[in-house]
Symmetry: D3
Subunit: 337 residues, 6 copies
């Protein structure tokens, strides 16, 4: 069987740091044949570094050279490029968030169904070893009741790139960072339907002209995204989810927390701990060893290839990514009410 031809659209940090190395490491199954970027110079450099045959400025020109694309552009272009690729008969792995809004996401989903092609969204936290192991242990938790999600950084607004630009990114800390743990949480919970969302989005700290920031500097005046968000989500199963995410919280230290208390037990993901009852005792358990691939980006790329080749089911289905985008939409709406 011939190898899947991969194209990379947008060759910034995430493409160079995660996706290109991953596809190159999977050279038994694929080969990167083309890259495109609105910054043609950058695309050329990347093609030279990685010995990629074709370079384009316009992503439309790339489709003919590939069987699948990986979309790494600013969020604003996710929907448009995805739909175009699918219409061109090309499989798509699109960086998270799926798109700027849930409406766009629905268009992407429709295009994928129409094209009968694979559409994956790069929520790579699901491919971490702790996440995969937690998923296997959910049976011991029982029906989830309460889920806690914290994706918090202390004074670390990303001062580079387009992160603080709402029209290009659609939002800040929630759509860029918190979305990962929100997606992971709902997947571990078994993807229940949400029935209500209440939320608050803040930007007060970053709007202060002289506040300290560890990750570079940005223009406080043009900053127009959220740097801190809280939300509360109810599901039709009765479960509730307490969410907090921030780039710039005034807290002790950066925190990634995801825990679920169910009817029978509890689980914490970072680090992985299981709280159960057994033989009349309460037990705490931790993995001494988890098998598998350390690099979630590699597992993610492999799952995408396997899905394209009909060898496996997608781990991150587009319907699931759509729900994450719906919740993000509803949080932002709730915040302005």
């Amino acid at each position: 069987m011939s190898k899947l031809r991969i194209g990379i659209i947008g060759v910034g940090g995430i493409a160079q740091g995660r996706h290109i190395p991953a596809f190159k490491a999977l050279s038994d199954d694929c080969v990167i044949t083309a890259v495109s970027d609105v910054n043609l110079e950058r695309a050329k450099e990347v093609s030279k570094t990685h010995q990629i045959d074709h370079v384009f400025e316009d992503y439309r020109d790339l489709f003919k050279e590939v069987d699948a694309v990986c979309i790494c552009t600013p969020n604003r272009f996710h929907a448009e490029i995805t739909v175009a690729a699918l219409e061109a008969g090309v499989h798509v792995m699109c960086e998270k968030p799926m798109a700027l809004s849930s409406g766009e996401c629905e268009n992407m989903l429709a295009a994928a169904r129409e094209a009968k092609k694979t559409l994956a969204i790069a929520y790579h936290y699901r491919f971490m070893k702790n996440s995969q192991a937690a998923k296997k242990l959910m049976g011991q938790v029982g029906t989830p009741l309460v889920t806690r999600v914290q994706a918090l950084r202390r004074r670390k607004v990303p001062g580079w790139g387009v992160f603080t630009n709402k029209s290009l990114q659609g939002g800040g800390s929630l759509i860029d960072y918190g979305c990962h743990l929100l997606d992971l949480a709902i997947w571990l919970m078994g993807s229940p339907k949400h029935i209500s969302v209440s939320g608050s989005a803040y930007q007060e700290l970053s709007k202060q002209p002289d506040s300290i920031n560890e990750w570079g500097s940005f223009d406080h005046e043009t900053f127009d995204v959220d740097d801190h968000v809280t939300a509360y989500i109810k599901f039709e199963t009765g479960a509730s989810l307490l969410l907090e995410t921030s780039w710039a919280a005034n807290i002790l230290e950066d925190t990634e927390h995801l825990s679920i208390s169910g009817v029978n037990g509890g689980i914490n993901v970072f680090p992985l701990e299981l709280y159960t009852e057994s033989n009349g005792m309460l037990l705490n358990s931790q993995p001494a060893w988890i098998p598998g691939e350390e690099d979630p980006g590699l597992s993610q790329a492999k799952n995408f290839l396997d899905a394209c080749l009909g060898r496996a089911e997608l781990v991150v289905k587009p319907e699931e990514a759509l729900q994450v985008s719906q919740i993000i939409d509803e949080i932002y709406q709730s915040s302005t009410n």
Copy 2:
């Protein structure tokens, strides 16, 4: 000046463990002259142990022997007794929660205003040294944005007394335990008005007939209160509060957490830590020594006496306790929607 005569209504654990010792320790200002209890035998024993002159079965008979009462009955009787006492011209310190519902609370407040007598609610967490110190440090936090409250126990439903009886107590983990940290949080935030409440109350775990419980056993069939509650509260200042409380969570360990992130800094109360920026650095600070009284029950009783005697303002004003009860009401209502 003659000493304030104190009556104790209901002489169960909280009266014997906290309030009677506190008032006895303040013997310069007060004397316990009477006790009453529907269980007359218990009242007699307590009066003998503590050398209290008068013993009654009916609290109404007690009013004539006292200037102030401390109400330690099940929650259901708080409102009725408080109103009766105030109408009899007697100051009242009532155990938390203020009453079964905010409607009852409003009646109590009206009675206090009418009688021009002191009405205090025993939210004693406010008198802890960490709480008092945190209140002084709130200026360095700036306008609060996000507040996190966790009052969580692992598998410790109180199996004794009336705690699992909804008609007597009005609820479970939230109205009995979580109310303390909720009250403390709102006070530290500066008592802003709340504008929306969403919540979920659970009882699944305690309804399971064979689940393990560390604090005694109870009847799983008649259990009709919440053992786990989550909620999300928005305030008119824009602040939001994430609340979780439980008697029986499937978590690693019991947790009392209250932290606030504001525009300028952050604070954690247990243990007390302050997160600020200063001289272009981010600083973490902890108290090496906090002066003051270790026993919050003693400080609370002293503040009540001082208020009755016109020497100080109440720390826990009834209007503030009313707001806590309103929020509890709204959480329970939200949960059933």
Copy 3:
């Protein structure tokens, strides 16, 4: 039903510190009616302190006043008194070790069968919460392969009492201290038959006239027991047990260790930890909470009463204690070969 009448034979430290308080705490089921001791004065004092009706110098005189006895004399008298008591129709709980030799133990066992009375041996380590919980978890360990037992003290020969006197005690660190963990280990392993024993008993350190000892002083010249013992025991199941016990080892710190590696998992008892595989991971688990009685002496007394009253099976059966004594015999024999 009338209460079981208990007699205590030998009222030294172990009687006063463990057994008398335990039987007194179980006053619903029993009453201590008599004590005896070759030191009559001591017996009288104890009877006065604990309000016990009958006091005797000769244990034979005590049998008529009791239904059951607890034997707390030096090891040398265990067999003689036990047989006499059983012949007098009295139930027996005898302190560990069962007797000086396995031959004596067999006589005791025969007498118990003949008399159809209960004969319990006070290996109270089995009643510790960790031990009881470990027993429940052995199913996850699978067939035991390797058992490690360490009952080690650093320079703490008991300098008081008769501990260093071989004719009264039958041995030193092994028969007095190591026997507990050896008994516990074999019980957790499921009481397999042993097929070979190799051992070494030492007394070099205690024979040195000027060595340091933390627990009082003793006569180095008359010291004639072991202060350090190693042994290796094979069982017909294929399992092997590595044993080390000492009163006076040159080691970092006192150590009580008992762990078992089985075909499926492993267990450690102090502290209780379980090592298993599950869902393709290796897991470590610890109890967050174990229910039950903290005082093993109380549980032990209760089990004895329940067995006498036909309400429960003995936890420590005399056949099992016999095996421990057989192994001790074989270790001492192996050492002198």
Copy 4:
């Protein structure tokens, strides 16, 4: 003086990882002039990488180009090659274990005596800094009484190479791994004669088809060596040694433990700690700094060269390695009885 010419026989992992770098680092005294391997391709690659002049498929052809050889083949070929080399007048450093059986070892020893050439066995644990320092401190331990050896790994059967093949290796965890700490222990004890050995060898865990293994996979059906061994060894000095070694134990964590309790003090080797009495106190001591070479492989190679050149005595004498092989033989025999 001209440099010693070194030949390497068998150029697998241990040759490339330890011995070749060591001899190259000692270029003042020696030069590697030849390599041989049954896999001639591999030998050629190694010779190219390390610029070694001569390459052979048959080790016999190599002798003429060298003064000394280092034998790094599977255990099965140790005896044959050693004897051939010595008969060819070539010094030998042979990897551990010395050979498959003590009978073979005796032949090797006889050949060395006959040839008057140096025969070293690569028990490199003796050259670790902690080992060398411990040897110097043994005087403070006094006559050894009890020695404990644990060389334990949790679920780490080496799934590569020939480790699980009995006919090539002679055994599993004991002959491959435990032999190191057994050798080190006996050397620290002063090389006393052993008088009895009892042991048990297990393979139950590795024979289970679906058990988890951290270090690669192997064929559970053809696995025919031990993965877990216990043993008990008595010496004519009265000392006893408790031994446990495993590739795949169900335990908390990998453990390398070697400690000795003597008449005057105790010692632990990993980490190095000394337990003594002094001035009427019990003291614990640890090295703050130990001088010397960090890499034991380098020290081992240097000692071999020095011995060949008559400049120093061998640290690991073949008579000592023979005793280790005798004990291993006796453990395996004991296990099958």
Copy 5:
């Protein structure tokens, strides 16, 4: 032999907390027959509590009833009472510091020599187990070069008693607290002669009217002693000593530190650690167990009685206490230059 009759002069905290219990515990050798205090009421209470026969207001009246006295008055009266007691033929144990000035100390010493009676100064730190053990280990330190002494408290001026009154106490933190570790240091160093002293005494912090103090409150205006002192002392052996003592330092935490670096090794006293070289290694050692009496007050009283009874040499000789007072004098003088 009849028991030594002891009198206590001054029955404040140090008498009641340390000396009276100590002499009572040594009832084989002594009996407290009399107490005196300028506060006669307090003396009567103490005599009743401890069943002491004679009570006096004037210490002169007490001498006839005793063989030895223990002087527990403010520092100002140490010299006068000591001289009077010795002239009355009574042995003396005097609390530290020996007196207000070295001139007074010399008078006391002269009186003791004249009277041929025992004169002990209560530097009880020397009787701590760590101190006694350190003294035994000084041989491994070799000739002392550098000694570091820190007796530091953070914001803990003793607000009670006469501690802040210079005319009664002669000084503050140095004469009251630092003197202990200074005395201990010089004793461990072998009591070398000092040849130069430079020092600084501070009171700035305590003179601030509103500074925080953990140990009660005092009058900032009348405060006229040192609350922080540094000094540097050279000895004729070449050794130097860096001294810091404080009641009220702005430091992380209270610290008692005494360490000595010598030509061969180093020692730290709290906790006890020894730093040596041995067998070409650097070693750190700590006691695992130190024998002896835990209560230094008891050992101190015993040594005084033994000295009075001719059974032992004094541990704290008055000549040594004189040197401490000389150094204190010189520090205060240096500070005002």
Copy 6:
């Protein structure tokens, strides 16, 4: 503007490890145009490695090719070269200590004033992030009272280079190592004038022929510098400073300590901690994040360039380095008195 031309005089370890990389990293402002060394070969190698145009044996020849020099020779040549450079109109950064004696330092200072050129001394500890942050926080400490300085290594005499040669270096541990923390301490204190110095310099340990040394070996006979120094310095502000420095102390572990207790608070520099009072509490604070450059050598070079270019004030002024040298002189003098 053209770039500053830099010359490096003396190209040993400190030049290659710190200064050359720093100036190369600041290539916007400067270029290294010349190097000189009495070891011309070494100079040539360095010039090749770093592509530097001019190489000289005699430093005088270098001046014509540069605008500024960095002097990295043994201490003995600092004064001579500095004066020559300044007279040649060249800016100077000279390694610490400024010179062998304060007299030489004064000549250097005079030459700088005369030449109106920049003269910086490379006390790079001042450019550490902790030092810079501490300087900003000194306001919260208030007037300094007590300063503690420890620059201590355990048995680590630098056995290489010229460190143990008094005629080339002027001294040992104090002039080479302790000078850094002494300089930093006085700067943080606000550069008060010192009014008295007392000190002791030791070399006993290093003069012992067989003492252990971790950092290489040296000739114990020719060793003629201090390996351990203590000192006590008083300032006209009333502050005192306790100083200890050593290359070879018999202590637990290497220690760099600098703390200051002032009238209002205290500060520790390694790690950075602040001790204050606030709102009636005692607070401890630590930085969670300090901005700025991690490499103090880079900040130091940048400050020198900025000063040469008139863009900034020198951080380490020559007058301040002179005071450090004066104090070192006085310590050595005090030691010999």
